[in-house]
Amino acid sequence: MKAIQIETKDNVATITNDGAPLHEVVVFNSQGEIILNTESEEGISFGHKIAIKPIERGEMILKYGEVIGVASAFIAVGSWVHTHNVESGRLPVNHRR
């Protein structure tokens, strides 16, 4: 799998390759430099996020250099980052009217 970190302070990267998920992940920064080679326990799909730094519970999730949510559990490097371990800072995840 390949993933891109958009801004340097981001603690998550986004999986960019379509197709069957593999477990080895190469993470690039915006300059195209490899910043991390890691293993993912679970397959992560295109467009989904992977932790590229250890994220403590309560710590902010940073993407685009901005806060997109708060970790609701400890997230290890290489783990899938989604609704099971992130809460929105603004509205509950899965908010329905």
Binding site: G32, Y64, V86, G89, L91
Partner: protein, 391 residues
């Protein structure tokens, strides 16, 4: 410092095209207006379809389009009995100092004689403007509009971040960027407000986004909703979803909100990033940013939008390699190379920046080469705005 090659207008602004505008204030004179524009090189006819009442949003959009420095000369082409008359627009355009003529069908004895006179006037303008020589200007003279439409999962991943980098580069070189579509900012207003240059601007950012959220709620649309499709596609929170769209404006501080309502129509008063209170509809959104002074637009589209614009050249960028291959006739830049790791985000951003410079120096976009002259005006319903207490 890289230069752009443009045309200085009498008001000191720099145009990057030499359009001749045939402006029908309302749709009743649009068909003959199109026939006036048809035989004359560089001429384009525009109108609006909201009737001929003196609606301030419609007037500001039409006058703003005509004032845009990409327009070298204007022929106002009215029927004669409109409330929104040639004279109203004439008064608003005089300050630009550019050649402006006015024709009224009812005074010319019908459309045939009005069209003949109109074509002669336009031909004269075309000959005159062909003598204008482009010359170099610093990129700081440039105002870029950023827009997205037909987004998909690649938009927030590749195309928008790359355009955002290019927007940052333009601002760092003294240029101006306008981002609109407050509808797409819902859920991220607190993040945008933090980037405002002061508390007053921050309050304005909250105000326009929350007003838009309220309008949608009153229509029965809860835009705070994250769909199953969004979640399946990897978007975890509403902030993340909105940031994907907003990132096309880059990361620089927000200098101010450009009001675009029944009372006010603002222009950027200096360089940097500005947020317009506009619409989410693609073509009118570009129109209103052009009316605020943008000379070039960058338009990202994952699914593959094909529109151009009558006033500004529109550079089409996709983050989806399949869309690029499918719509090569229409898409100028493939940012999908970011996805397979074959090109860095920085490198794509540099290509987009160079494309902005070249387009602003006369190079045609694919939509221009196909003759696409899309134009539409946007207005809000006054009754609904009054009921909501917004005007």
């Amino acid at each position: 410092m890289v230069d752009i090659y443009g045309y200085e207008r009498p008001d000191g602004k720099v145009g990057v095209r030499n359009h001749l505008l045939v402006l029908a204030p309302a749709d009743c004179s649009f068909e003959p207006a199109r026939q006036v524009a048809a035989p004359v090189e560089g001429a384009v006819a525009i109108t609006q379809f909201y009737g001929c009442a003196e609606d301030p949003m419609v007037i500001n959009a039409l006058a703003g389009a005509a004032k845009n420095p990409n327009v070298a000369g204007v022929l106002l082409f009215g029927l004669g009995c409109e409330s929104l008359s040639n004279d109203i627009l004439l008064r608003l355009l005089e300050s630009t100092g550019k050649p402006i003529e006015s024709l009224i069908i009812q005074k010319e004895g019908g459309t045939i004689s009005a069209i003949e006179k109109g074509v002669r006037i336009l031909q004269g303008m075309a000959l005159k403007i062909s003598k204008l020589k482009s010359r170099p200007f610093p990129v700081s003279k440039l105002t870029l509009a950023v827009e997205c439409g037909g987004s998909d999962a690649t938009s927030g991943l590749a195309a928008n971040p790359a355009v955002g980098r290019a927007a940052d580069m333009l601002i760092d070189n003294g240029g101006t960027v306008i981002i609109s579509e407050p509808q797409e900012m819902i859920g991220a207003q607190h993040i945008l407000a933090r980037r405002a240059i002061n508390d007053e601007v921050a309050r304005e950012v909250f105000k326009i986004i929350e007003q838009q959220e309220k309008r949608l709620l009153e229509m029965g649309v809860d835009s705070r909703f994250i769909s199953k499709g969004n979640l399946d596609g990897g978007l975890t929170t509403l902030e993340e979803k909105s940031l994907g769209a907003i990132h096309k404006g880059g990361t620089r501080p927000i200098q101010g909100v450009l009001r675009n309502d029944h009372q006010f129509f603002d222009h950027p008063t200096g360089p940097g990033l500005w947020l317009q209170d506009g619409t989410g509809w693609d073509v009118p959104s570009v129109t209103h940013m052009a009316a605020a002074g943008a000379q070039v637009a960058c338009f990202t589209s994952g699914r593959g939008s094909t529109t151009g614009h009558a006033i500004v050249p529109v550079i089409k960028i996709t983050g989806n390699p399949k869309t690029y291959n499918n719509l090569r006739d229409n898409i100028d830049i493939n940012a999908g190379t970011i996805l397979d790791g074959s090109e860095s985000l920085e490198s794509v951003a540099e290509r987009i920046y160079q494309s902005i410079i070249h387009t602003a120096s006369g190079e045609k976009t694919k939509a221009e080469a196909l003759g696409f002259k899309d134009f539409a005006v946007f207005k809000r319903d006054v009754t609904a705005e009054r009921l909501l207490g917004y005007c």
